[in-house]
């Protein structure tokens, strides 16, 4: 299926810079990133948010799209929100430190 040399690890590394401002944790460690598909050179990122009423949904969508756009190897991308499976706290990476750092713009 994959036809490009895009490294998923590069994408994951970059996505670790997308911080949920409400929890102060990146979306990868929060377990919000469900899948990274690469189909005919197009990166399709499937992610979720902690609840369908999450106020951060819009902000996170923008940040994810910005991040994908910033990766040189990616020519085409889509960030797709999915609701299955339902997110739960068990998906958070073990020993994650909440609010270890504030959102990135505030660190600068």
């Amino acid at each position: 299926m994959d036809s490009t040399p895009i490294d998923r690890r590069t994408i994951v590394r970059q996505l670790r810079n997308v911080i949920d401002p409400e929890l102060g944790v990146n979306i990868v460690d929060l377990g919000l990133v469900y899948n990274i598909l690469i189909v005919d050179g197009k990166v399709i990122l499937e992610y979720t948010v902690t609840t369908p009423g999450c106020p951060m949904r819009r902000y996170l969508q923008q940040e994810i799209e910005k991040t994908l756009a910033s990766i040189d190897e990616i020519e085409d991308y889509e960030a797709k929100i999915v609701w299955e499976p339902e997110w739960s706290v068990d998906m958070i990476k073990d020993d994650v430190e909440f609010f270890a750092h504030p959102p990135p713009q505030q660190r600068a």
Partner: protein
């Protein structure tokens, strides 16, 4: 695509801010500002503007943006329209818009519960339903003192639900979550009892309110995040001080009951609406703004100033109420208005600075060969 442009969100956010500013103004008119003149906004508009024009529009907008469904905007659009209609002298259509807006918000919250039938969504839906109950009674010309509990329940239940939802990451014991739910359901039942026996109903409500606040102090993430920095620490301080006001309101309500007018009535309501609700608004601003505008608000220690003024002047106001000196109460009220304006001004300043600096960065990058 179902996406609503950010400009629409910002436009509705400005209308919510208009509800806030006109609501504050009518509050000052109520306290005697321009008493000899003819104020452009009626003093009796204070409650409807603050609850529906500001809080209803803001919370409705936040939910609609989260859901990304165009129909969900029915709530903030109608609630904002009710503000405009009220201010332009059309009270009857304004009442119609109030009912449609709050019914719309109840529908949105019920839809969220349908999508994810969790207790925190149910609590938030009950909050929106409380707004609808309050507005139906208001439009039916019930006296404000008999409905203000329902109006207060709207932001309070919304916040309680949100805190419970966020606190999942603390993994509170199931039993604790059940206790919290029972306290809240009991509190709503007590509000209903106030229509039969105001004293008994409010005494039960006050006890349960203290229980809810105690639960939040024990289980909310704020006790942990207070050791953090910047907005996170600030939010924790706002949350904990807000919970403190709930406990004070509970003690106050047990001691004095819930009169239908006068200084004790004024004190109790402002403990809830200023002490608790505005603390929560200050606490959540760093999350609400990016959710609507897509821009983070850069932190500045300045934000402690309005927070200290908010709490300090609320104490002055309550002291004025307790000792029966209306001048002291008025000083406290002006101080509270100043605190809210200083907070809002700080947010606008920081956001504008951030947007301008991002624009200048973009221009510099584009100019580089």
């Amino acid at each position: 695509m179902n996406k609503v442009p950010t400009s629409v969100l910002v436009g509705l956010l400005i209308l919510a801010a208009a509800g806030l500013l006109t609501g504050l103004y009518s509050g000052l008119v109520r306290l005697g500002l321009l008493s000899s003149g003819n104020p452009p906004i009626s003093p009796i508009a204070h409650g409807p503007l603050m609850i529906n024009g500001f809080l209803g529009t803001l919370i409705g907008l936040e939910r609609a943006a989260a859901l990304e469904k165009k129909w969900a905007y029915v709530a903030p659009v109608f609630l904002a329209a009710s503000t405009i209609l009220l201010l332009t002298g059309f009270p009857i259509p304004s009442h119609g818009a109030l009912i449609l807006g709050s019914a719309g918000l109840t529908l949105v919250m019920a839809y969220l519960y349908y999508l994810q039938p969790k207790i925190y969504h149910l609590i938030m839906a009950l909050g929106a339903f409380s707004l609808l109950v309050g507005n139906v009674l208001f439009v039916a010309s019930s006296p404000i003192y008999s409905i203000v509990g329902w109006w207060a329940a709207f932001p309070m239940l919304t916040i309680f639900g949100e805190r419970l939802e966020l606190n999942r990451i603390m993994r509170p014991p199931k039993r604790a979550q059940h206790i919290f739910t029972l306290l809240i359901i009991g509190w709503i039942a007590a509000l209903t009892i106030t229509h039969i026996d105001r004293t008994i109903g409010w005494s039960i409500a006050s006890l349960l309110l203290m229980g809810i606040a105690g639960w939040l102090i024990k289980y909310d993430i704020a006790r942990k995040t207070i050791k953090s920095i910047e907005w996170t620490k600030y939010s924790a301080i706002c949350l904990l001080t807000g919970y403190g006001w709930l406990i004070l309101a509970g003690i106050f309500g047990l001691w004095y009951g819930f009169p239908t007018a006068g200084p004790i009535y004024d004190g109790l309501l402002h403990m809830l609406f200023v002490g608790f609700v505005f603390s929560m608004i200050f606490a959540h601003a760093s999350v609400i703004i990016p959710s609507l505008s897509g821009k983070l608000v850069p932190w500045h220690t300045y934000f402690y100033l309005p927070l200290m003024l908010l709490h300090g002047f609320l104490f002055v106001r309550i002291a004025g109420d307790m000792i029966g000196l209306s001048k002291v109460r008025i000083i406290g009220s002006y101080g509270n208005v100043a605190a809210i304006l200083l907070f809002l001004g700080g947010i606008i300043y920081q956001l504008t600075k951030e947007i301008l600096s991002q624009k200048s960065e973009t221009i510099t990058t584009e100019k580089q060969p």
